[in-house]
Amino acid sequence: MSDIADRVKKIVVEHLGVEEDKVVDSASFIDDLGADSLDTVELVMAFEEEFGIEIPDDAAETIQTVGDAVTFIKGAV
């Protein structure tokens, strides 16, 4: 399961161009990692592809932090 967390963090690092040590579970994409609203849409798209899942819009809205993403994806795969 830690594999999922690692893959999520790798996507976030690559996509947002942030330092790896800042991508902790509690980090908010927008407030802590400098993402704008379009970045968050792109992150969701990237997660969908990486894990072969569908993330509906109402669920995507609840994914605010790295930990939120990991939890959602663990429940969806």
Binding site: L38, V41, E42, M45
Partner: protein, 245 residues
């Protein structure tokens, strides 16, 4: 003139005079094209004329399911949709006081709502590619208004506001969204006008002639090209000076 080599373009309304010319111009600049329209025969004819790099993807844009399926069919045929030209449009002209809800709804559905849906569907691939072009064919009447075309003018003006809003959102991803607004263009439809009707129209056009479909196609080819990468949210009026706006 412009190099579109390696780009894949979906053109709606490609069975019409202007749409066909747009597809030809993009294809001539090196793009692979997917030709969409309601009537398959003229699309197949155009695809045959163009030869390689031309696909036929028929769709009725008044049908929401067909609208949803079209970008997928185009991407399957070409590999991606890098350039979307929303050219298809219908008219249901009537005096405002006589216009039915249905005439209003049909025109808004095809000329505005389908453009929203098609554009939304192609954005995912464009965002990933960090490159994309959406070009919406509007009309001079979207700016000037025209008696008998309250529905059509509303849809065309709506496209302008929609295009600008989308242009804001995706500019940082290398995607541009622009409009081309034709004036009077000589097509099979205008051939049917009487000389008197034509004379009245020409009197309003400083250039003294109707435009050709190729005039619109050239504007689209420019906006689709890498050379126009810094142009977004714009409307390029191609009307012989009929309305200098």
């Amino acid at each position: 003139m412009f190099d579109l080599g390696g780009r894949n373009a979906l053109v709606t309304g490609a069975s019409g005079g202007i749409g066909g010319a747009i597809a030809e111009a993009l294809h001539g600049a090196g793009a692979t094209v997917a030709l969409s329209g309601t009537r398959e025969a003229p699309l197949a004819e155009l695809a045959e004329k163009l030869g390689e790099r031309a696909h036929v993807v028929p769709a009725n844009l008044s049908d929401a399911d067909a609208v949803a399926a079209l970008p997928k069919a185009a991407a399957e045929a070409m590999g991606s949709v890098d350039i979307l030209v929303n050219n298809a449009g219908i008219t249901r002209d009537n005096l405002f006081m006589r216009m039915s809800d249905d005439e209003w709804a049909q025109v808004l559905e095809v000329n505005l709502t389908s453009v929203f849906r098609l554009s939304r569907a192609v954005l995912r691939g464009m965002m990933k590619a960090r490159w994309g072009r959406i070009i919406n064919i509007t009309s001079v009447v979207g700016t000037t208004g025209n008696p008998g075309q309250g529905n059509y003018a509303a849809a065309k003006a709506g496209l302008v506001g929609m295009s600008k809003s989308l242009a804001y959102e995706v500019a940082s991803r290398g995607i541009t969204v622009n409009c081309v607004a034709p004036g009077f263009i000589a097509t099979a439809m205008t051939d049917k006008l009487s000389d008197e009707q034509k004379g009245k129209i020409l009197a309003q056009i400083p250039a003294g002639a109707m435009g050709r479909p190729a005039d619109i196609a050239a504007a689209v080819a420019y906006l689709a090209s890498p050379d126009a990468g810094y142009v977004t949210g714009a409307t390029l009026h191609v009307n012989g000076g009929m309305a200098m706006i």
